[in-house]
């Protein structure tokens, strides 16, 4: 006879406001599989913790967003936001799905070229492009999104002195009635800076105004904000057509769509409150279609959606290291995933699922990472089943930003694997070694 699964014995005090499993309904479903692959197998083969990406989920998200927009608007072009996740394999999946590249540094620009993206399919954003980078982008025919006047003048000088042309757009910021205002990026709409920049570009023979760009913020839950932003850009496009008889070829609405994660401090679950791609699409496309732009002159709509396309496709599988009682009686569980690997723990209440079945009884728990630092808290407080040392768990929706903002701290970073559409697992970034980390160091002779 096989033995029964052991669960840590627990006793939980009933206090008003702390509901039982029925009241809280904290039904934390076990998660034995990620996209059909056993989490236990993944950890046994690739170690704990391990980052896991699902190609199916990525392709499904791309299909959803493309359908939502192309049903409503004829010319739609996606551009993969490199900063959200620039693991080469991930980028290539997006490129295979037809995405261009949206980059914000020379490093990302070169990465995109290495991934086989043609220069004319790269959007170059950001406030910190160097002269050399600008020249390279101009020669490659990439779209340079001008962020400030200094950049406009610098680019103009380069083009004059080297006798080359550049395809440009300007990034516009504006008041769309939401907080915070992202007025540190781009040129302002209301105070006329944007219009001023457009005029300078139109009067410069070396600069070709191709499009208008905005990026209204991050994790925008209000589709109305997009409606307002899109109609303001459309108005600007009309003014350009009126004054210069010039029709821009694209409007780039940037990114900022929310994923289904729950923001810290939010009362309701992100799964319920996050708008769907359809809702975002309806707001943006109707604003452009209903604008004064002539139907035959409607520009291509570019989207730089990052988070909403990749967040749900990434997970981290890890293990419990220890349990302890805090001085106030709360339970603390220490796990092998720290905030250095899960940067997004600072602004999300990430969902954490045990891999194996549990009785359903939950207790208020703090989840700490393994770093010797006070800030290393994954969840300050959640209702969580009792896991014991060695038990495994999956943190879901970790695909955005964690593999670009991660920190190598006190130890090396773990393996990253991709589950392909046939459920085959591929290592796409091997765990770092001491040699990897030390490779760039030099020791002055006298310390040798």
């Amino acid at each position: 006879m096989s033995k029964q699964l052991f669960e840590r014995p627990t006793i939980t005090k009933l206090t008003p406001g702390v509901p039982s499993k029925h009241g809280a309904g904290t039904v934390i479903a076990p998660m034995p599989l990620i996209d059909g692959v056993k989490v236990d197998d993944l950890i046994e083969q690739y170690g704990s913790p391990v980052y896991v990406f699902s190609e199916r989920t990525i392709r499904k998200a791309m299909e959803d967003i493309k359908r939502a927009f192309s049903l409503r608007y004829q010319k739609v072009q996606m551009a993969w936001s490199y900063k959200t996740n620039y693991l080469d394999s991930i980028c290539r999946i997006f490129h295979k799905e037809g995405s261009w590249a949206e980059v914000v540094s020379g490093f990302e620009y070169d990465k995109a070229i290495r991934n086989g993206v043609k220069g004319e399919n790269i959007l170059f954003n950001g406030p910190a492009k160097s002269a050399l980078e600008l020249e390279k982008a101009a020669r490659n025919g990439s779209f340079i999104h001008i962020d400030h006047f200094d950049e406009l003048f610098m680019l103009s000088d380069i083009c004059m002195s080297k006798n080359i042309e550049a395809r440009v757009a300007i990034r516009v910021n504006m008041d769309i009635g939401i907080y915070p205002k992202w007025d540190r990026f781009g040129l302002n709409y209301e105070n006329g800076e944007a219009w001023d920049a457009i005029n300078r570009i139109m009067n410069n023979p070396k600069l070709k105004l191709m499009g208008l760009h905005t990026h209204i913020g991050t994790y925008i839950m209000s589709v109305d904000a997009y409606r307002i932003a899109a109609s303001k850009l459309a108005e600007l496009a009309c003014s350009i057509a009126q004054k210069f008889d010039h029709y821009i070829s694209y409007i780039d609405m940037g990114g900022g769509f929310a994923s289904k994660n729950t923001l810290r401090g939010a009362y309701l679950s992100g799964e319920d409150t996050t708008p769907s791609f359809e809702e975002y699409a309806e707001a943006i496309t109707s604003a452009i279609i209903n604008s004064q732009i002539k139907p035959d002159k409607l520009p291509t709509l570019i989207l730089e959606t990052g988070r909403a396309l990749i967040d749900n496709a990434g997970s981290i599988a890890g293990s419990v290291l220890a349990n302890k009682r805090l001085s106030d009686g709360r339970r603390a569980t220490i796990v092998d995933v720290g905030v250095n690997l899960l940067f997004t723990a600072f602004w999300y209440d990430h969902k954490i699922h045990p891999v194996s079945n549990h009785s359903g009884l939950v207790e208020e728990t703090t989840i700490y990472g393994p770093l010797c630092m006070n800030i290393d808290v994954l969840r300050p407080s959640l209702m969580f089943p009792s896991l014991k040392r060695g038990d495994r768990f999956v943190i879901t929706r970790t695909g955005a930003y964690n593999n670009t903002q991660w920190l190598q701290f006190i130890t090396t970073r773990p393996n990253v694997v991709l589950i392909d559409q046939n459920r085959k697992v591929h290592l796409i970034r091997r765990a770092e070694t001491l040699e990897d980390v030390a490779a760039n160091e030099f020791i002055p002779e006298y310390l040798g």
């Binding site: 029964q4 052991f6 014995p9 006793i11 939980t12 005090k13 014991k388 040392r389 060695g390």
Partner: protein, 80 residues
Amino acid sequence: MLIKGNIALSDNGFVFNPSSGDSFTMNHTGKEVIMLIKEGKTINEIIELMLEKYDVDKMTLERYLLDFMNDLSSNSLLEE
């Protein structure tokens, strides 16, 4: 080691401490351990019984039983 005599334990895992007025719920292993204690089993006997029944190694079991006993005692459910 004894559970306080006046502690009310019901079949569904609900525990009431009449001296403090606190109520508690337990998971099924928690309930099982309390029942065994009530039957007068020693810690070692409980360990033996549970090792036989559950897929768990001795060290882990001892560790979590100790935790559980601490929880019982910090909630004043054990005789001093």
